[in-house]
C-alpha cells in the first residue's frame, strides 16, 4: 500500500455490491463535508430567526434576537474549518481567493463567506451592541473594560440620535442579510445540486431544500440554546417567545417536509435511468439514516409532537418538555439529512450498477473525533461570545428604578 492511502480501502472491495468503476472505491467527501453544510445551515437559520425581529417586527422573539446573532457568528467562525481540514493541500486554500475559477460554484465560497461574515453578521452585531458596549466600557475597569472599549471601536456616542442611527443601520443590514443568508446556504445546496454526474445530488430543488432545512435547524438550535441557557442561569423562560419560535419551527418543518416529499415523488414518477440504483441505495444503504432517522424521528415525530403541543393546552412545563424533545430530534434529523446527501450521494456507482461502502475513520484528520471537536467548538465559541457580549439588552439588565 502506498503511503497516505487510507487503510482498509482494499477491504472495501469485498463490500462492493454489483459493479463500480474501480476508482470509485474511495469515498472522497467524508464526515467533515457532512459537518460543513450542517454548520452553515445553523448559521443561516439562526440569522433568519434574528431577522424576524427586525424586519418582520415579530416582537415576541425579541429575547432571542441577540442569542440568534451570536449563534450564527459562532457557527460561521467554525464553518470553514471542516473544509480546510478536508483539503489535500490546505496551504493552497488561499488560491480560491486569489485565482478563483469563475465557472466553479465552489470558488465562490470565499466571497460568499467573507461577504456574509464581514458585510452582514459582524456589522449587524456591531450596530446592535455599539451602545451597550459604550456604556459597559465606561462602567468597567480592567481587561473586560478594555475588550469592550476595543469592540465598540472606541465609540463614545450614547446620544439618542446615534441610537436611532444604530436601529436604522440594523434594519438596512437585516434587509440585505436575509438574501445573503439565503445565498450562503442556497449556494451550498447549489454545490451539490449542480453536479449533473450524480443523480442523487443533481436536482434544481437542492438549494431550496438545503435552505428550508437550514431554517429548520437554525430555529431549532436557537430554541435549544435558549432553553439550556435559561436553565443554566436559572431564569424563567419567556413562554410567549418560546411558543412563537416553535410556531415558526412547526411551519418551517412542514415546508421542508413538503419540499423533500416533492423531490422524492418527482424522482419516483420521472423514473429515470438512475431510479433503480437510487431505490437500492435507499433500501440497502440508507434505510436507517433516511427513513428512520431523517424522516421518521427527525421530521414526522417532531411534527406530531409540535402539533399536539399546539392543539392540546398543555401547561408550561409539559410544553417545554415537548419542545425540547422535538428540537433535539430535529437536530438529529437535520444531521442525518446532511449525511444522506453527502455520504449517500457517494455510495452508488456512476455506472448505476453498484453500491460502495463507507468506512468512517475514527482518529484521522477526516475522522469522527475531528468532526466531534468541530461540532463542539462552536458552543465553546458561543460561550465566550456570550461572556463578552451580553445576550440581554441594557434595559433588561438594569431595570429603571420605579
Amino acid at each position: 500500500m502506498s503511503p497516505g492511502v487510507p487503510k482498509g480501502l482494499s477491504d472495501l472491495l469485498n463490500q462492493v455490491i454489483g459493479y463500480i468503476y474501480p476508482n470509485e472505491i474511495e469515498i472522497h467527501w467524508s464526515l467533515l463535508i457532512v459537518v460543513y453544510p450542517y454548520l452553515t445551515g445553523l448559521v443561516a437559520g439562526a440569522f433568519i430567526l434574528a431577522s424576524l425581529v427586525k424586519v418582520f417586527n415579530v416582537k415576541e422573539v425579541q429575547p432571542t434576537y441577540r442569542l440568534s446573532l451570536l449563534t450564527a457568528l459562532a457557527f460561521l467562525l467554525v464553518a470553514p474549518f471542516p473544509l480546510l481540514l478536508h483539503l489535500g493541500h490546505p496551504e493552497r486554500s488561499f488560491e480560491i481567493f486569489l485565482t478563483p475559477q469563475l465557472t466553479s460554484a465552489m470558488a465562490m465560497f470565499g466571497f460568499v463567506y467573507a461577504w456574509y461574515l464581514m458585510g452582514v453578521l459582524l456589522l449587524e452585531i456591531w450596530f446592535e451592541y455599539r451602545h451597550h458596549l459604550t456604556v459597559l466600557a465606561g462602567r468597567e475597569r480592567g481587561l473586560m473594560g478594555w475588550i469592550h472599549r476595543v469592540l465598540s471601536l472606541f465609540s463614545k456616542d450614547v446620544s439618542p440620535e446615534s441610537r436611532a442611527f444604530d436601529r436604522k443601520a440594523i434594519r438596512v443590514i437585516t434587509v440585505i442579510g436575509i438574501p445573503s443568508a439565503f445565498l450562503l446556504h442556497g449556494y451550498v445546496g447549489f454545490i451539490f445540486g449542480s453536479v449533473k454526474a450524480n443523480p442523487w445530488w443533481g436536482s434544481v430543488l437542492m438549494p431550496i431544500v438545503f435552505l428550508m432545512s437550514a431554517i429548520v435547524s437554525g430555529i431549532a438550535m436557537v430554541i435549544l440554546l435558549y432553553m439550556v441557557i435559561n436553565l443554566v442561569r436559572n431564569e424563567k423562560i419567556d413562554m410567549p417567545c418560546l411558543d412563537r419560535m416553535v410556531s415558526f419551527l412547526f411551519y418551517a418543518v412542514i415546508v421542508d417536509f413538503s419540499l423533500e416529499a416533492l423531490d422524492f415523488i418527482h424522482r419516483l414518477y420521472q423514473s429515470e435511468e438512475s431510479v433503480k440504483i437510487l431505490g437500492q441505495l435507499i433500501s440497502v444503504k440508507l434505510f436507517v439514516n433516511l427513513v428512520v432517522l431523517q424522516i421518521l424521528l427527525g421530521m414526522l415525530v417532531p411534527l406530531v409532537i409540535l402539533a399536539l403541543a399546539r392543539i392540546r393546552r398543555f401547561n408550561d412545563d409539559m410544553r417545554k418538555f415537548l419542545y425540547f424533545t422535538s428540537v433535539l430530534l430535529i437536530q438529529l434529523g437535520i444531521f442525518s439529512t446532511r449525511w444522506n446527501v453527502v455520504i449517500g450521494g457517494q455510495l452508488f456507482s456512476k455506472s448505476f450498477r453498484g453500491l460502495m461502502a463507507y468506512k468512517m475513520e475514527i482518529t484521522g484528520m477526516e475522522g469522527l473525533l475531528t468532526s466531534v471537536v468541530l461540532l463542539i467548538v462552536p458552543f465553546i465559541v458561543l460561550a465566550i461570545l456570550i461572556r463578552i457580549l451580553p445576550t440581554k439588552r441594557l434595559e433588561e439588565e438594569l431595570p429603571e428604578p420605579a
Binding site: 502506498s2 487510507p6 467527501w29 483539503l87 449533473k196 456512476k350
Partner: protein, 278 residues
Amino acid sequence: MNKRQFLKGMMLFFPASVLIETLAKQAGGGDTTATDSRTARQAAGAAEPAAAPGTGEAGAGGTAYDASGHWYGMGIEIDKCIGCNRCAVACKTENNVPPEPFFFRTWVERYTIKGGGETAVECISLDPKPRGEAAPEDRDVLRTFFVPKLCNHCAHPPCVQVCPVGATFSTRDGVVLVDSRRCIGCRYCIQACPYGARFFNHGTNTADKCTFCYHRVVRGLLPACVEVCPTQARIFGDLKSRASRLVRFERMNNINVLKPALNTEPKVYYAQLDGEVR
C-alpha cells in the same frame, strides 16, 4: 584585438550560442514527467520538433509545437479488444500511477449479457487473471465483450467547470490536464466526473487522471496504452489532421460516446459500443 580577430570570434560565437540555446531547450523539455502537468503545459507551448501522432509521419523538424493546430482524441474499437489488460499495465508504468489495484487512469471492463437482459460487468484490470470459457450453467450468454475506459477528455468537461482554482484545465489541443502544483485537493472534480475517470493521488494529495500521455504526444509519440495494444483496438490521433488514423476510424465506423445525454462531448469515440455500456 584587431578587426580580423573580432570577426573570427563573432563567427564562432553566434553558431555556438544558437547551439547552446537549442540544447538548453531540449534539456528543459527532457525534464517533463508524466505526473508534472505544469511542465506538460509548458511543453505544449515550448518550441519543440513534433510529429502529428497517429499519422505515422514525422513532424517538420525544428518547427515549434503549436497546440492550436491539433485536436486530440482516441478511438476504441470494441470488437478488437481482447481484454489482455496490457494498456492498463503500461499506463501504470508510464505514468507512475499508484500501485494499488483500484487506482487507474485507464482500465478494462468485461460485459457479459445473458438471455433475459441480465448484464454482469467486472473490471478485469482489478484482477487480471486469465478467464476461461463460460461455465456450462452460464451457456445462455448472449454476448460478451471488453470495454477499455479512460478519461474522455471531454470538449465540455464538467471537471474543468467545477475546479475552484483552475488547476484542472483544457489545453488548446483538447486534452484535459491537472496541474498538480495548483490543485488544492478539494476533490470536486472527482465528484463531477460522470465516468469515474479521476482518483485522488495520495502521494501528491491532488486529483489524478489520464493525460493522453501528453508528455509523449507533444513529442510525436503515441500514448502508452495505444503503443502497447496488440490488436490496435485503441487509435490515437489528431482530429484536425485529415491524414490522421482517428479521422479514418471515424469515417469507417459507427461512432458512439459514453453518456451522450450529459452533453460533456467526450473525445474518446467507441466503435461497436453496446447500449449496455455506461
